[in-house]
């Protein structure tokens, strides 16, 4: 498995929580949004999205509800829960710490300049 897939796999929960916290979304919409916002970086086997969504739903971090589109077709929208917001806040903070630590090692000059 490529390095990119490994990275996506280990961060998929944070990515999904972050997207859904912006607005409730359904599966296909999430795939498109991830691809568009990352300019194509986050493209993966679409079937792998649903196990991740169901895992988050089972953990109580998101909640799925069937709702009608303006066209009348039903789609399962995912909403972030209170528990999901709390988990996202933790994940954001650990991601920031990780990124800072990585930058201190990988790009020390830029970090020094920014201080």
């Amino acid at each position: 498995m490529s390095e990119r897939h490994e990275l996506i796999k280990s961060n998929i929960d944070s990515l999904l929580l972050c997207l859904i916290s912006g607005q409730p979304m359904y599966g296909y919409q999430i795939i498109k949004e991830l691809k568009d916002r990352s300019r194509g970086y986050f493209s993966f086997k679409e079937g792998t999205l649903y196990p991740a969504l169901h895992r988050l739903e089972k953990s109580g971090l998101i909640e799925g509800k069937w709702q009608a589109l303006p066209s009348g077709q039903q789609r399962k929208y995912y909403y972030i829960t209170e528990k999901g917001y709390a988990s996202l806040a933790l994940q954001r903070s650990s991601w920031r710490e990780f990124l800072n630590a990585m930058n201190l090692i990988i790009r020390p000059e830029e970090v020094r300049d920014s201080i």
Binding site: Y26, Y28, K45, E46, Y50, A52, H54, K58, Q73, K76
Partner: protein
């Protein structure tokens, strides 16, 4: 819906093994995804069949998607783990605390287990239920065996009424359980090799004599420990996600129980009996898995199926 999509969703479904409402919801959700994707691909100029093929390629292997969704759903809570392992724990206590010598305790336990099994069967047939059904089969089988000792004139009751009725009931339970997931049948039958093993080790010869009772008394703590091994295996089974690990854990707990029997009933179980018990344990996992296809395609299931699984 196109044949390619139907086949894809069917393949996902065959790997899901979830409760019927959950399964229907997963398939519905994937179907809506496919609908959106195919519509968009057709908008780029692809033909119907090309759009469907491209969509299925983008989704990835149906079996892998089904298996991963199963894993997302397959982890039970600690409460479910406790409820599933409770009949094993109760049987363990029955022997460890030597309650088995009092008829009242045994009757209360069996009636409690059977009532819970009947209640669970007519409500949702959730995963926790199957070990309870397994223990409930014991009194049914023992009652059938004891009919042999009826006065000669009444033996016909066994042949005309009890045996066909019991066989029908057991076969119906088996087919409906396999239809849900063959692994539940293994979960249901898991204590059987241990029960038969300890039974044979106590030198059961048609009448429970004082010598056999004395042996059972000395074996009781180890019988209890072997049921504890099953309980521990079942708790782990409920809590882990991966299916192959679930199967391994159940098998290991059954094997540990048999190891206890062979260690503490040394000299009372010959090699052939032990070998038969091991084969029985293996068949508890092998036979339901082999039967699953026949039951799910309706080849055998239709004879016992009268209403859809809830």
């Amino acid at each position: 819906m196109s044949t390619g999509i139907d086949e894809y969703l069917h393949n996902v479904k065959s790997s899901l093994r979830l409760e019927a409402p959950d399964e229907a919801e997963v398939i519905r959700e994937l179907a809506t995804h496919i609908e959106d994707e195919v519509k968009e691909l057709k908008g780029t100029g692809l033909r119907d069949d090309e759009a469907v093929s491209a969509c299925i390629r983008l989704l990835g292997s149906a079996k892998s998607v089904g298996r991963k969704i199963y894993e997302a759903h397959s982890q039970g809570t600690w409460q479910q783990a406790l409820l599933t392992s409770l009949p094993h724990l109760l049987f363990a206590l029955l022997f460890i605390l030597n309650w088995w010598r009092g008829l009242t305790a045994v009757l209360i336990l069996l009636i409690g287990i059977m009532s819970t099994a009947v209640y669970g069967w007519w409500h949702r047939k959730s995963g926790w239920l199957f070990p309870w059904i397994g223990y409930s089969l014991l009194p049914v089988i023992i009652a059938g065996l004891s009919l042999i000792y009826l006065p000669t004139g009444l033996t016909w009751i066994a042949f005309i009424v009890y045996i066909p009725l019991t066989l029908w009931l057991i076969l119906r339970v088996i087919t409906q359980t396999i239809k849900k997931d063959w692994l539940y049948l293994s979960l249901m039958l898991l204590p059987m090799p241990a029960i038969i093993g300890w039974f044979v080790a106590a030198d059961w010869q048609g009448n429970f004599n004082a010598e056999a009772e004395a042996r059972l008394y000395y074996d009781a703590p180890w019988i209890g420990v072997s049921f504890l091994a099953l309980a521990f295996g079942v708790v782990t089974f409920v809590r882990i996600r991966r299916r192959w690990l679930k199967i391994s854990v159940l098998f290991m707990s059954g094997a540990i129980a048999l190891t206890f029997i062979s260690s503490y009933a040394r000299g009372r179980l010959d090699f052939i009996v032990l070998l038969l018990l091991i084969l029985f344990l293996v068949s508890i996992f092998l036979v339901p898995a082999l039967l699953e296809n026949g039951v799910k395609t309706g080849r055998w299931g239709k004879y016992f199926e009268h209403r859809p699984m809830s």
